[in-house]
Symmetry: D2
Subunit: 343 residues, 4 copies
């Protein structure tokens, strides 16, 4: 039997149909290339309004690795490094993209996938002279690789640590929508320009065909940023394609609606799994959840559902990762729960 | 009065509507990410068939600068360089993307924007030891930055020169469609796998929303190529978006049809301009043409038409660049010719 | 009172006087530049003889960081990484030199500063696809940053692991002399061409003014290596200066004699320290030893002796690092031991 | 018959014997590593005094390519480029060292090997947006690759052009001594801190074993410069070796005395060659001269003298390059002139 429902990731489908609609409706209008089109301008206007921040710069890029490598290339001098948890996307899953631009990642242990002020301070304290790299930026993800989220207070503490140590704070928002609508975090759109130097709002994993919106808050980082985009092949001739999608996502709150759908179904999944008597690797709070199931059960479920087996959990059990998205069907969740035997 | 018709470039519109249709039709099917989806596989199949080459590898990237920088990064060791004409896109218009990956471009003078075997040989002969870089690749564009094209024989001579000197031959096909249907060149799709080591088929400038198809012929260059894509942020989670577009472009000859439309209108433009008594910088053969007009005429035309003023031509004249595309309207061409006074 | 004797490092003095003598004796002979001089050729001949390996290539560079960054740049493709213990010089004390050439270091925990086959295997197993870097080299130091040494069997096991996993093995021999004459290791000069792909013999820390001899065993790594030297500014016009020194070091066994002197005095120091009732962080076996002393004792010793306080050891104690060299005076060791109170 | 006298270059011998003497005299004093030794400090003091500039920073590196690549790496952001004449050392003879740090060289035509303000202005004017690199530094050599020199007024004009365009001015002084004592230039040591942002004083080609003194004038470029040194492997553990040599060169005017010897013998050579009836590629003014001789004469001279054949000059003639140094013997010059037949 073929896989019937995929919980593999949040990019298995195309785009929210209303996004395709905007692409269609604007398709034949002649626009200036490379981001100076009316669609990109309108998207920037809508995002600034949502962030309640007129002073930020917004640029669109096609994916998350591209956003990360370009933002860090623009932040760091050749001898400067970025601090991140060892499970961070930039440290593990970007094929050395940051190192390829010449920079070391100071990987430190996290707590539930989250970076702590203490780990930042310790890393800064260890780097004392020119025989070592000089930490200059901090990388956090909201939500993290483990599906957890920072609260406003937690991110505020990290920012304070950064300010004291002269570090930029960069936030990877590949799954920012899911984090914002999560009940576990009180951190909203309008907090981000106050609590970071630069961040991105993920489109690819929240209903767009492709595209992320890089938001630069710190004026030092704004200067000549488009050169970095061009140099890394990120400046699309038809940037309108990214602009149009963010217009569709931000003109009426759709961005968070799509994330809400994902979280709702993830919550339904995790409730059902708990009810059936199973535990989790980390508290399920966003659209990625990590239940611990018996290997025999996992083997059976795999025949019908797509998901990643994350790590062995001992005693004949493993952690699996289930991801829901704007496109996940309620029926898929219900079937999964029906097919899951009680512990 | 606002600009009424733009001849600025071939990426002013969105996509050929039939491309949007494929995106729509396949939108909700669940697919594997990062290029392992059925749409990308089908696009690869169609492209290989069109090239009459089963042994090539095909990868999709989002833009031309990205294609160029990744292809060259994969071809060159740290001390190796690429030979190109000084007007080449990689030398002037990519913000130092190739140098940012660590490589020197040996820029040489071209003839009508084209590289010659003699210039390649001379450059190789000048690089004799480890105090200098070691040329290892040759970069050509088909069509070139000046709208000219290589014939099959010309490219064959360049390949022979490359083979003798141990150089890879890379062809930038941002405007490959226009070159193939040009009456000035006998070089077809099926010739490219025989006459290059690696090349790309441009989508962005020929009717796609975005996307270029990199085709690797030389087996040495195939190995681990996806690592380069990922490291430079070019591996899209929803690679299906690129796959679907190339399916639409290659399933029934549409790719060349779109280019034919562009060339037809460019030819109409150049015929009319000639008839009105004006000359050209280089023979008009593809969808970019470079007429030489009096500055007063140019000033008047600019109020109504978008185009670039390319270079001063002396005596109160300048070269302008007019670009047509798959989306250019016949009416726009007719109006332009009507508005052009006789010389 | 000023510092009277320094145990800070093994590069506090100039050069063994017999090295200066060779520089003087050959000073006015006219020689070809950039390594093609008779002194460099003679040094290469002597080193090959000592290694009992005619098939290796030998290049001279001015320092250890330079040796490491160039060797790794020559070994690794852009997406490839090097595995090292987290205490490795390349990971901590080279200001991100390896990352600046574009490569990630996969830092793993060591045992007494030494890398284990298990850690290598684990790292290779974790790197499964193009979303991650691809480990391609292993970095070890002999002696290690903690003064410990690999035995012939241990290095043989590491090599076997490398061979199975398709990894190059690189050995940093900044303190190779001290390791070879150490009683704790049976690994000799002639073993190195059999047990590594590339390594360097350190001159700076063993009596030379400056200079390290990079020895390339694996033929794949030999090709065009001088381009890497030149590109990183390591090809000295008067390479003879390095050649002459290695002639002096290798013409009659002086290299190991100088190291023997350093080890002898380190052993005398560690014996005395043990006799006085103190322990060590790691077993003292080379010219770097790490005794654990009470902080009050350390404070008193610091007024007269130069050394680094390495790390807190709890309970009012700290680890200090004492380094001896070819130039350390017996008198300095005796005074130190006299000034050290019994535990 | 073997080569009897070499005019190949100015680094065929070791060091001025008085330099070796300082190395010997200071050899066994214990010093702090990495540039914090008393010799390096004294050398810095002497150089500042000679430059009549207390506010500059001075760092020592082992060679010219290293000086150039590090200075430019510290000056340029990733998207910024450096303007130089196409015959510049960085453009031809450093194996792509500057590109390897990620930067494009904007190569322009020079006049007698010298850069002109007009060429700088033109290059800046051509670079208008983020599709191109952004010129940010200008590279000049004093003396140039063709043995010519800038006057104070010429360098002043270049500086003025740089200031207006927001460019740093960097001067490569590999042969600075010869330029300063040349009768063709009025540019002295004390002018350099007023007319450049950063420059280096060459040791290798003027009597040192190795070593160049990088002098940073512009405060913006001083910050964290040692990180760049370390990252590129240029921070020598025994930096004292460089310090001691510059002490010997600068404590009593020896630096210029050595250069004067070289220029005197070059002048004697060129006078004799002129008297014999031959012309030159460029006016002979420093220690590199470029006479044009018949090929048959060249062939005969080559059996006895070392020199480079620079370029064909037509009509059975070629340009050769003759280089004198601090160590060239008067006898060698006299013999050469005796062996040169009249035209």
């Amino acid at each position: 039997m073929a896989i019937k429902h995929s919980f593999l990731d949040d990019y298995s489908e195309g785009a929210d149909p209303r996004i395709l609609k905007v692409l269609e409706d604007t398709n034949l209008a002649q626009e200036i290339g490379y981001g100076n089109d009316r669609l990109s301008h309108e998207a920037v206007r809508l995002i600034k309004r949502r962030l309640r921040a007129q002073h930020v710069d917004v640029h669109f890029v096609s994916g998350g690795t591209q956003a990360n490598l370009i933002a860090l290339a623009a932040m760091l001098k050749p001898y400067e490094s970025v601090i991140a948890v060892s499970s961070a996307h930039i440290n593990i899953h970007e094929a050395g993209a940051v190192e390829a631009t010449g920079h070391k990642i100071n990987a430190v242990e996290g707590t539930d996938g989250k970076l702590t002020p203490a780990a930042i301070q310790r890393t800064v304290a260890q780097h004392t002279d020119e025989h070592m790299v000089k930490p200059r930026a901090v990388f956090v993800s909201q939500a993290t690789e483990l599906g957890t989220v920072y609260s406003k207070a937690e991110l505020g503490e990290i920012l304070k640590t950064c300010r004291r140590a002269g570090l930029y704070l960069y936030l990877d928002g590949a799954r920012l929508g899911s984090a914002i609508v999560s009940k576990a975090s009180d951190l909203n759109f309008a907090d981000l320009p106050l609590l970071t130097d630069i961040f991105y709002i993920g489109g690819t994993k929240n209903g767009a065909l492709l595209g992320e919106a890089l938001v630069i808050v710190n004026p030092v980082l704004k200067e000549n940023f488009r050169f970095y985009l061009k140099q890394h092949g990120a400046l699309l001739a038809k940037n309108r394609v990214l602009g149009a999608q963010f217009v569709a996502l931000f003109k009426d709150g759709r961005y968070l609606d799509l994330a809400r759908h994902a979280n709702l179904l993830a919550a339904k999944l995790s409730e059902g799994i708990k009810t059936s008597g199973y535990g989790f690797l980390s508290p399920p709070t966003t659209n990625q959840i990590f239940p611990i199931l018996p290997d025999a059960v996992i083997d059976r479920l795999r025949r019908k559902y797509g998901f990643h087996v994350w790590a062995p959990a001992g005693d004949g059990h493993s952690v699996i990762r289930l991801v829901t998205s704007w496109a996940t069907k309620e029926k898929a969740v219900e079937e999964f729960l029906r097919d899951l035997p009680r512990a």
